[in-house]
């Protein structure tokens, strides 16, 4: 069964959420991944949106993180003071899904500028909630396309802290959350399960070689002791994504891999 790169990313993210209770999420791929997880590997998963929503039950595919369909029928809708203070900073977010324009080997993220901060070549959106999400969530998963200009040696700007300079540097600074745990891309998966907390390849997607992955990464990529192959999406996973979660194909893409 053929599938798109986006579909594979959705499925990989959903599987990684197995058993998770709460996830801090935005719209688009992450939202679909979380809803897929709830229908498959994480039936108790509750979605938290920075707009102030806990336990959303959207009646349609939400088009923005503040879509009114996220409000109607939700478990709780709260002020952003409470969302960031009680839910996020209070330590109730198990996993947060983040993206970025640039990521480095320790999972630090840039969503602020390309170029110099005061005279940027490209002005990006900025932090939004990402800086505090990265600090407080128990674990963060990154979802990004694997591209050499994104997986860089040195960020132009550190918006959201990952494992900082690696090792115990994150804990030493007193960041309460555990930091980056997984990077999900269109070509491969990475984790940080080594003492240096450095991004390492754990799985390539079907048909992708390790060399292809390395070619898209600016630094000398570390490989896990066993690099596996990501299992392809199952028919059931694809059916849920295509028929239930994104029937109009807004986010899942159209080009098969």
């Amino acid at each position: 069964m053929s599938y798109t790169a986006s579909e594979l990313m959705i499925v990989a993210a959903a599987r990684a959420l197995a058993g998770t209770r709460t996830v801090f999420v935005g719209v688009g791929l992450p939202n679909i991944a979380c809803n897929l997880a709830r229908r498959t590997v994480a039936p108790d998963l509750e979605l938290i949106y920075e707009a102030g929503v806990y336990g959303a039950r959207p009646a349609r595919l939400p088009l923005s993180i503040g879509d009114p369909t996220l409000v109607t029928g939700a478990t709780a809708v709260v002020s952003q003071a409470d969302l960031f203070g009680l839910y996020l900073q209070g330590g109730l977010v198990d996993v947060a899904l983040l993206g970025g324009a640039q990521i480095d080997r320790f999972g630090n993220l840039n969503t602020t500028v390309i170029g110099d901060y005061t005279r940027p070549k490209v002005r990006l959106p900025g932090s939004g909630g990402a800086c505090e999400i990265a600090a407080n969530a128990r674990r963060t998963f990154m979802i990004m396309r694997l591209k050499r200009r994104a997986f860089v040696n040195a960020l132009d700007f550190v918006t959201s802290p990952g494992h900082l300079e690696g090792g115990a540097s994150r804990q030493r600074l007193g960041l309460p959350g555990g930091g980056p745990a997984l990077v999900i891309t269109d070509l491969a998966l990475f984790d940080f399960d080594n003492p240096e907390r450095e991004m390492q390849l754990i799985a390539t997607h079907p048909g992708v070689s390790v060399d292809q992955v390395c070619a898209e990464i600016a630094w000398d990529l570390r490989l896990a002791s066993h690099v596996t192959e990501t299992p392809a999406p199952t028919a059931d996973e694809l059916r849920i994504v295509r028929e239930e979660l994104d029937p109009e194909g807004t986010y899942r893409g159209r080009e098969p891999v």
Partner: protein
């Protein structure tokens, strides 16, 4: 009970002046485009625009040349793409340079809270390990007097004027909101002047029947503007949906400054007020945005006599 109702034209003329700091808040929901358009029409200049997510409203205002500075935490067309006019101002100084003062979302919320509660600072577990404090020296550190690690703080923010869009208020400005309440309460209490804009004016008795929903007391409200659909193309929970078609169109339209100028001529300068804007938009388009009912259910406060 003072009747504070006035037109949007009067409210802006009376309270928003050149050089002021203005916050039109509302996180995705209840963004008061009607107030933004009136500020453009009255050709205010050198405003400091304050908002967590500038959204299309500030993209339009920056393109119109009302702003010289922006205090914010996320620059994006939510769910769609970039804010092209703001990017042009920042990257190329078109139509004029725009100074940025930048926080994270919780940092902005914290600035409002500190402003609203007269605190010298708001502490939050953010910014450690980020370059944001280097880019913005107003983000500082405080020692923990109980022996823990230092913590980041942000200073109070007290906008000269806040514009709050909500579902309903009485004539004296006792205001109730539901759905995404964002940071509307915090920014209202933090501001020096408050303009409340509502979908409906209701009797005081409606407010008093459910006092837990009153987020903003008339005590702090300077003007009440009755402006149905005043948040279009954003939405008011229970009243209308986001006009996503417009958000998508803006991504395309805003690619060139000249096209925005033409749009402003047609939809802002070319109409005298919100009523005319809505007429131009057409009843059919508004009708499409109407949700089916989803009543909240009733709770009982009990009469204690």
């Amino acid at each position: 009970m003072t009747d504070k109702r006035c037109s949007m034209r009067e409210a802006i003329a009376r309270y928003v002046h050149d050089g002021m700091s203005v916050a039109i808040e509302g996180f995705t929901a209840c963004i008061c485009f009607a107030a933004g358009h009136e500020i453009i029409r009255q050709r205010r200049r050198n405003l400091t625009l304050i908002r967590m997510t500038p959204d299309l409203i500030y993209d339009q205002m920056v393109a119109a040349g009302v702003a010289s500075k922006m205090i914010f935490s996320y620059l994006g067309n939510p769910g769609v793409g970039s804010l092209n006019a703001i990017r042009r101002a920042v990257e190329h100084g078109v139509p004029a340079p725009l100074e940025l003062e930048e926080y994270s979302h919780y940092g902005m919320v914290g600035r409002y809270i500190a402003g609203a509660t007269r605190l010298p600072f708001f502490p939050l577990r953010s910014y450690l390990g980020s370059d944001m404090p280097r880019a913005n020296p107003l983000i500082r550190m405080v020692e923990d007097p109980y022996g823990g690690a230092p913590i980041a703080v942000v200073p109070p923010l007290n906008p000269d004027v806040a514009v709050i869009h909500a579902q309903r208020a009485d004539v004296s400005g006792n205001t109730q909101l539901w759905g995404l309440i964002g940071s509307q309460k915090e920014v209202a209490f933090a501001a020096r002047r408050r303009i409340v804009v509502v979908e409906e004016i209701v009797d005081e008795a409606v407010i008093r029947a459910d006092p837990n929903r009153t987020l903003i007391p008339g005590l702090i409200v300077d003007a009440v503007v009755h402006e149905p659909y005043g948040a279009h193309p954003s939405y008011a929970q229970g009243y209308y949906d986001r006009d996503n078609q417009f958000y998508l169109a803006w991504e395309e339209l805003s690619q060139e400054h000249e096209r925005i100028v033409a749009w402003l001529d047609a939809w802002v300068y070319g109409v005298p007020d919100r009523a005319a804007y809505l007429e131009k938009l057409g009843a059919a388009r508004l009708a499409q945005l109407k949700p089916a009912p989803a009543p909240a259910g009733v709770v009982d406060y009990g009469a204690y006599q």
